[in-house]
């Protein structure tokens, strides 16, 4: 009885771990998928044609025209009401003026600027809703007004949906709502769209449209830059620790330093990067990829050292003894025999550290990351800051002016980052399994 329940509790702990992984990744993958595959409206295809020159020009123009035709009745009804509003008395105007203005804005939000009106400056204003799910949300905003019912004071206010049509009951605008509800599909023409170029497109109007290429590229620069500094340092240190260092006091101090470095909170690395690389030795005038890479390199250094040392130590003694007995010197043995044999293991450590560097946010906040920027050319990384996936996930999810409008971009970024990191880690796991099989067999 005791035995059984003890095992059960242990198994439950493990199952809980599984569940938390599934709960964490499930919604993110499900919604992140929506950044790549979704129902795009006619506005989406128009945008793609205008901004990226993609798609069959004539067909899209014809489609846009078709959609515009089905939208005509909506605009006609609104025009009619506008005229009516002008003709009626003050009471009528003050009663319907404000609600009508609100409605006009909502319709513009859904369909883009009305025909004949001036083009807004921001790209987000020039097009209607490009995604069918967002279009439906906007349509819901037109059809219903969200109100909170505070009648029960003991509870929090409850959400009540009031049809907007009630507001305009008895006016010439009333049929508009039914029309919108029934014909929205014709007006927006949703079609399943695969947008794999989400990864490789630049963003328009601070991530309202387009993809995440600047962020992805920035992440690559930062992670690979960090490895460029961390790998030579880390591997040489590992060689020293595994092959040359004895058990002296200096070596144990060194090991303590390595584990302390591993324990430093990532945000402290960020502050150090700011204080040292930027303010003290001026590797760049302000934030730059270079400063960020240096900071990240310090962060991953202990990981590289430890894993490489393990890989070097896992090389069978006989290899080393064989080389030595053939007359090779110590350094020669290390370079020509031990390192090649340990290479897959070292590679594993590099891959894991690469994933770690790609996902870290705190160290690059003050040293490398900006929220909006162009993809950098290689030489610009020495002096320019860059957008990067982890930082922009934070930025878009908390500081962006329209957080709810661009959820799909946020999820898309998160999924890209997770897939990147997990792919790296799975590669490492597979590689490690193969090495251990080889060393055993």
């Amino acid at each position: 009885m005791l035995d059984g329940s003890f095992s059960t509790v242990g198994v439950i702990a493990i199952v809980l771990m599984f569940i938390s992984l599934v709960i964490l990744l499930g919604p993110i993958f499900a919604r992140g998928f929506g950044a790549f595959v979704f129902k795009g409206t006619v506005e989406y295809r128009k945008l793609m044609l205008d901004k990226f020159g993609r798609g069959d020009r004539e067909r899209i123009i014809a489609e846009v025209a078709g959609a515009a035709k089905t939208r005509e009745p909506v605009y006609e009804l609104m025009e009619q009401f506008r005229v009516e509003l002008k003709e009626k008395d003050y009471d009528y105007r003050s009663r319907y003026g404000q609600p009508f203005k609100e409605l006009e804005e909502l319709v513009e939000d859904l369909f883009g600027p009305a025909p004949g009106s001036s083009m807004p400056v921001l790209v987000r204003g020039q097009y209607g809703q490009t995604r069918w799910d967002r279009a439906n949300v906007k349509l819901g905003n037109i059809l219903f007004i969200e109100e909170y019912d505070y009648s029960d004071s003991s509870k929090m206010g409850e959400l009540v949906l009031v049809p907007r049509a009630d507001l305009f009951a008895g006016t010439s605008l009333e049929p508009l709502f039914r029309l919108l509800e029934s014909d929205i599909e014709k007006m927006m023409r949703p079609r399943t769209t695969v947008y794999w170029r989400f990864l490789f497109d630049g963003s328009y109007d601070s991530h309202f449209f387009g993809g995440i290429w600047p962020e992805l590229l920035g992440t690559f620069y930062l992670a690979i830059g960090a490895m460029l500094f961390a790998v030579p340092l880390g591997v040489i240190t590992a060689i020293y620790l595994a092959e040359y260092a004895g058990d002296s006091r200096f070596v144990s101090l060194l090991r303590t330093c390595i584990s302390s470095l591993a324990g430093v909170p990532s945000i402290v690395f960020g502050l150090f990067g700011l204080a040292f690389f930027i303010n003290a030795i001026h590797v760049s005038p302000s934030k730059s990829v270079l400063a960020g890479s240096f900071t990240l390199a310090l962060l991953v250094l202990p990981t590289v050292i430890r894993a490489s040392e393990e890989a070097i130590k896992a090389v069978p003694r006989s290899y080393k003894e064989g080389a030595m007995s053939l007359g090779a010197g110590k350094w020669r043995t290390v370079v020509t025999v031990i390192l090649p044999a340990a290479l897959p293991g070292i590679l594993t450590s590099i891959i894991i550290s690469l994933g770690r560097a790609a996902g870290e946010t705190a160290p690059i906040i003050f040293t490398a990351a900006v929220s909006v920027g162009k993809p950098l050319a290689l030489w610009e990384t020495m002096s320019q800051p860059t957008p990067a996936l982890p930082w922009n996930i934070y930025n878009l999810a908390t500081e962006h002016e329209a957080v709810d409008e661009i959820r799909h971009v946020q999820y898309g970024m998160v999924v890209t980052l997770i897939v990147l990191v997990l792919l790296l880690n799975i590669t490492a796991i597979v590689l490690r399994a193969r090495i251990s099989k080889k060393l055993r067999g």
């Binding site: 509790v9 439950i12 302390s260 945000i267 502050l271 204080a275």
Partner: protein, 387 residues
């Protein structure tokens, strides 16, 4: 041999086999140089640690000159941007401590149990599946956890807070209650024999189990009735931080458990102990220090984490109502550094800039000391194990 070969020949022979004095010196100089370069490069992490301490302290010191330290440690009024700036960080320290405590409560029981399960209970084949899961949990970037906490978890908590908490409480406490019932009934009836033992076991299981069940139902009722005003609060962050600290705790304590030799386990079994007895009385006590080190490392992970707390803790610099009220927003050291630096950046040299370095110094000292502690514990354990 030496007689046969003439001197000149032997000179030539020696030149062929051995190196000349010059070459020998060259080589030893080369080796020395190589070795020093090697040591220099290997010391990079030593230098890095020294530099980190130096530069953090250098930028932290001016704060003490400008503002002094009393207000910083005793006041809870954090208004760095006001005309009359106030730098009372007590509430922020408290916030860090609170979420870390929460994370420990979430992660330690689960992590240690999972580690026990991995090292002693589950068969090898299942272990091979679980390990990658733990690695994946560890590999997921912290900003992703933060995003999840903010965008998925917080709204869920706000809308269905009560029932979610109740479900969570059932998942956690029901198995523990079952375990406690089993342990207690075993203890209560261990002195008896035969039929009396069976009866006593049944009675005690019914009694203790009923008691626990009543308690759980009561808690359920309380939790379901709870409304959560804001989903971005200490509880949310604690749970997520707990999950993030889990991989560290599991892998370090599993290592410690595995280091407890087979001989101890077999000895215990040979004396007639059951598996649970062996685990509780022999294996866990033997691995105590390793588990302790695991907990310390988990705490370090939780307290040093930035993105999750910055995104999902609510960032309110005050001590919650009753201090243990996890449903209120809090603010932590790491989040304050990350959040305030953006504004303080442009006024380098002000107290507002330097106070963040003071916070970083506190974090750094804490991390450094707990790292040393865990290392000393582990080293001592290793020494004892080898004897």
């Amino acid at each position: 041999m030496p007689d046969v070969i003439k001197t000149a020949d032997s000179e030539r022979l020696r030149d062929g086999l051995l190196m000349s004095k010059g070459a020998l010196r060259m080589q030893s100089v080369g080796a020395l140089a190589g070795r020093s370069i090697l040591i220099a490069i290997a010391s990079s992490s030593l230098i890095a640690i020294l530099f980190i301490f130096y530069f953090i302290i250098r930028d932290a010191l001016p704060f003490f000159q400008i503002e002094g330290i009393r207000e910083f440690l005793t006041s809870t009024r954090w208004y760095p941007s006001r005309e009359e700036a106030e730098f009372g960080a007590l509430a922020i320290f408290f916030g860090s401590a609170l979420v870390t405590l929460g994370a420990v409560v979430v992660a330690v029981p689960m992590g240690v149990l999972a580690a026990l399960c991995l090292s002693d209970i589950l068969p090898f084949s299942i272990r091979q599946v679980v390990k990658p899961v733990i690695e994946m949990l560890a590999a997921i970037p912290s900003v992703v956890y933060g995003f999840f906490a903010l965008v998925v978890f917080a709204p869920l908590m706000q809308e269905r807070g009560g029932s979610m908490l109740a479900a969570g409480a059932w998942i956690i406490f029901a198995p523990l209650a079952v375990l406690a019932t089993a342990v207690l009934s075993d203890l209560l009836s261990s002195r008896l024999d035969g039929k009396a033992r069976l009866v006593s076991q049944i009675v005690s299981v019914a009694l203790v189990g009923g008691l626990f069940l009543a308690g759980l139902l009561r808690m359920h009722g309380f939790l379901v009735g709870l409304t959560i005003v804001s989903g971005t609060n200490a509880l949310n962050v604690s749970i997520i931080l707990g999950i993030m600290a889990l991989p560290t705790i599991v892998s370090v304590s599993e290592d410690a458990l595995n280091a407890v030799g087979r001989d101890l386990r077999e000895g215990s079994y040979a004396l007639g102990a059951t598996r649970a007895e062996t685990l509780l009385r022999v294996v866990v006590p033997a691995a105590r220090s390793g588990i302790m080190a695991a907990v310390i490392l988990g705490v370090m992970r939780a307290i040093g984490e930035t993105m999750v707390v910055w995104m999902a803790s609510g960032n309110a610099a005050r001590i919650p109502g009753p201090w243990f009220n996890f449903l209120e927003p809090i603010r932590t050291l790491t989040a304050t550094i990350a959040g305030d630096m953006g504004e303080a950046d442009h006024v380098t040299g002000s107290a507002r800039y330097h106070v963040l370095f003071v916070m970083a110094l506190c974090l750094l000292m804490f991390a450094f000391i707990s790292n040393l502690a865990s290392e000393i514990i582990l080293r001592r354990a290793r020494k004892r194990g080898s004897v």
